[in-house]
């Protein structure tokens, strides 16, 4: 038998134990979503997240979509760094006056076709700010056109994925 020279740690690959999550419903949803993304967006759906004045819990749930339990990248969803790369703008929070110009500019920077999703109650209709306050304009639709609303305080990662799945189904119908 040939001896392999193997200095300590250098050629042994570092592997962690496989993590197995049993969440069949979620997996099924994700795979269906993946099929839809493949047919509509050519395998990759690019989302740009924009916080227009949320309480940060919605951002946390969006980040959670990329963590091991959900890992949406395997279904073809990527969160991109620039609106210029994005198919979808996911806006969280009611739009504050201080963010309004930035929201408009971000939307304008996106190439067409482009879609806007309002994530969370505040983004959908102003939430607790709906009664009128000096600092907040209101829901996202007051500033830019909205194609889909995902309610919740905040919506869970599962809610967000489910809503995206529904949205893809609507888009697929329009395409045919």
């Amino acid at each position: 038998m040939q001896k392999i020279f193997r200095p300590f740690g250098l050629f042994t690959p570092k592997v962690t134990g496989q993590i197995i999550f049993h969440d069949e419903e979620y997996e099924k949803l994700g795979l269906q979503l993946k099929d839809n993304i493949s047919s509509i967006f050519g395998r990759s759906l690019a989302i740009r997240e924009l916080d227009s004045g949320s309480d940060n819990s919605t951002e946390i749930e969006m980040v959670n979509l990329t963590t091991p339990y959900y890992d949406v990248e395997r279904f073809g969803i990527t969160f991109v760094a620039s609106p210029r790369h994005a198919d979808i703008l996911a806006v969280t929070g009611a739009v504050t006056h201080n963010m309004e110009i930035a929201v408009r500019k971000t939307y304008a920077a996106m190439p067409k076709p482009k879609f806007v999703i309002a994530v969370g109650d505040d983004a959908c209709n102003g939430g607790i700010f709906a009664g009128g306050t000096y600092a907040v304009n209101g829901g996202v639709e007051k500033v830019i056109p909205v194609d889909l609303k995902i309610p919740g305080n905040p919506p869970t990662p599962y809610d967000i994925l489910q809503a995206l799945h529904g949205f893809m189904a609507v888009l697929a119908k329009g395409k045919k």
Partner: protein
């Protein structure tokens, strides 16, 4: 030399010249002619300005009143100085209490009270889109929707500090960042790759929460406290509820406080886990980070089982809790926590065994101990720089006085120290929760409170540090609600911590403090 008022006297238990109505604070007044000299006398030692805010028509005085909230290290009493103004201006104290600078700018925006001798008189939370002369917190402004400017003329743009010199250039970042993160603007002045100045501009997310709370009953407003910062919803809701309970002199059932404490510590665990995972992501080691994110997601799911909300919203109520926690949820939590500590340890072992990670964390983003009192830095950021402050012990509330808890201290103040402190605090929180589960009392989780008016200060230790709430109820509704989160003060630490570091380490330093933009901007 002018005679001054010795403010140190009021921190002593025997020095209670004015007896506190509620809670740990006493209210005193200092004659205007010796006001600044008295404050200057105690500045720079162990007295910290933890809050400064304004309100109108307070305590029998018509017009503006400024409240200066002072804490003295190792004293549990909080001294609040009432400064009644006859004119809408006052002398600045920012020269000797630097933490006052943002507070004073906040007051000028909110009320139009100016500080003519202040070194920084720029707007704070009212950006260029707002009309000049607009002061939303004044009582004569009734809250309503506002039409603001849609474009900003270059002449009226916010003036950042100009940095000049050979090879100096500026990098503007934000408000919209590349990642999934809240908005804020960072203006770096850089030589080569080394940062030699950073100016942070916040308040893009200013939602007017303090004004929104006015005129509402405590029951209507608790959701506003929860929305101050989504990942501090329990801490802020508890602080708000405690203020109402202090004003109305309600005694909360033991079980309610035990459950509140479990939730507060769950919040600390998931918050710290996210910070630690984030730090490891920011040094490009996703394999190591994934273990922290797995644990964090499991905590979120347990939160859902316990309270019906992954962020535990809607359970804390003034007078206790809205609902009791189901026994099966408690059992599930106890079972889950059994092997939590070893799992966290194995995640830490991977990080500690990876020298390239430790190399990035060590000596990066040092917060000097001298800054802590001057800028009122709190939480893990202060403890990692060797300052033993923890609100759960210094101004213990609820059932914290009877819990076994120790302060975690590190000395170096770098990113690695903050990482390690957070790891230790997670384990401490797990021990607290397990101890509480084993001795959970029976009985109701809320009490009916009488109506009552008054004002109260509460301080809680959120995951990021000390949050200050001051609530004033009049005729059963909120007259003034002031919140100062730990993030508000800790942001200013980043401006110092990044100096001499390279630009690519900024995200790491930022993540090691993981401050809330929403909690700062309100």
């Amino acid at each position: 030399m002018k005679p001054i008022v010795d403010l140190n006297y009021y921190f002593e238990e025997t020095g209670a010249a004015a007896k506190s109505k509620t809670g740990p604070e006493i209210y005193i007044s200092v004659p205007e002619e010796v006001f600044n000299s008295s404050l200057a006398h105690i500045a720079g030692k162990d007295v910290v300005l933890i809050g400064l805010f304004c309100l109108q028509n307070f305590n029998g005085h018509t017009g503006f009143t400024l409240l200066y909230v002072l804490e003295k290290r190792s004293y549990s009493r909080i001294v609040i100085i009432e400064r009644h103004l006859h004119e809408p201006y006052a002398a600045s104290i920012a020269a000797f209490f630097p933490s006052a600078s943002w507070f004073e700018r906040e007051i000028t925006d909110g009320f139009g009270v100016t500080f003519p001798d202040a070194f920084d008189k720029r707007h704070l939370f009212l950006h260029e889109v707002y009309p000049e002369g607009f002061h939303p917190l004044c009582k004569d402004f009734k809250n309503r929707t506002l039409k603001t400017r849609e474009t900003i003329h270059p002449d009226s743009e916010y003036a950042f500090k100009k940095m000049t010199g050979e090879g100096v250039y500026q990098i503007p970042v934000g408000p919209v960042h590349a990642g999934i993160i809240e908005p804020g603007h960072f203006r770096f002045s850089v030589i080569g790759e080394t940062i030699f100045n950073l100016e942070i501009r916040m308040f893009y997310k200013h939602r007017g929460l303090e004004k929104l709370a006015e005129g509402k009953t405590p029951e209507q407003a608790i959701c506003i406290a929860e929305t101050i910062s989504g990942d501090e919803s329990v801490a802020n809701a508890v602080a708000f509820a405690m203020a109402v309970e202090n004003i109305r002199r309600a005694e909360i059932p033991k079980r309610a406080w035990q459950i509140r404490t479990i939730l507060l510590e769950m919040e600390r665990i998931y918050s710290h886990l996210g910070d630690m995972g984030g730090m490891i992501v920011d040094v490009a080691f996703p394999k190591g980070a994934s273990h922290f994110f797995i644990l964090r997601e499991e905590i979120f799911r347990l939160n859902q089982t316990l309270t019906g909300s992954r962020f535990m919203k809607g359970i804390v109520w003034s007078g206790g809790l809205t609902i009791d926690i189901q026994p099966h949820a408690i059992t599930e939590l106890a079972h889950y926590l059994e092997d939590f500590t070893p799992r966290l340890k194995s995640a830490l072992d991977i990080v500690n065994a990876t020298s390239s990670v430790i190399d990035r964390l060590e000596t990066t983003g040092v917060i000097k101990k001298d800054l802590i009192n001057l800028l009122n830095l709190t939480g893990p950021a202060a403890r990692a720089s060797g300052e033993p402050i923890d609100n759960r012990l210094d101004h213990a509330y609820g059932i914290y006085p009877i819990l076994e808890l120790q302060k975690r201290i590190a000395e170096k103040g770098d990113v690695l120290s903050r990482f390690n402190i957070k790891a230790q605090e997670i384990n401490d929180s797990v021990s607290i929760i397990r101890a509480l589960i084993s001795q959970l009392a029976d009985g109701p989780v809320n009490v009916k409170m009488d109506n009552g008016d008054g004002w109260a200060l509460t301080l809680v230790e959120a995951a990021r540090g000390q949050n200050l709430h001051w609530l004033y109820l009049r005729n059963g509704v909120i007259e003034r609600y002031k919140v100062r989160t730990a993030s508000f003060c800790n942001w200013q630490a980043i401006e110092h911590a990044v100096l001499g570091n390279i630009v690519p380490d900024f995200p790491l330093i930022n993540k090691s403090l993981n401050l809330s933009y929403a909690g700062t901007d309100l």
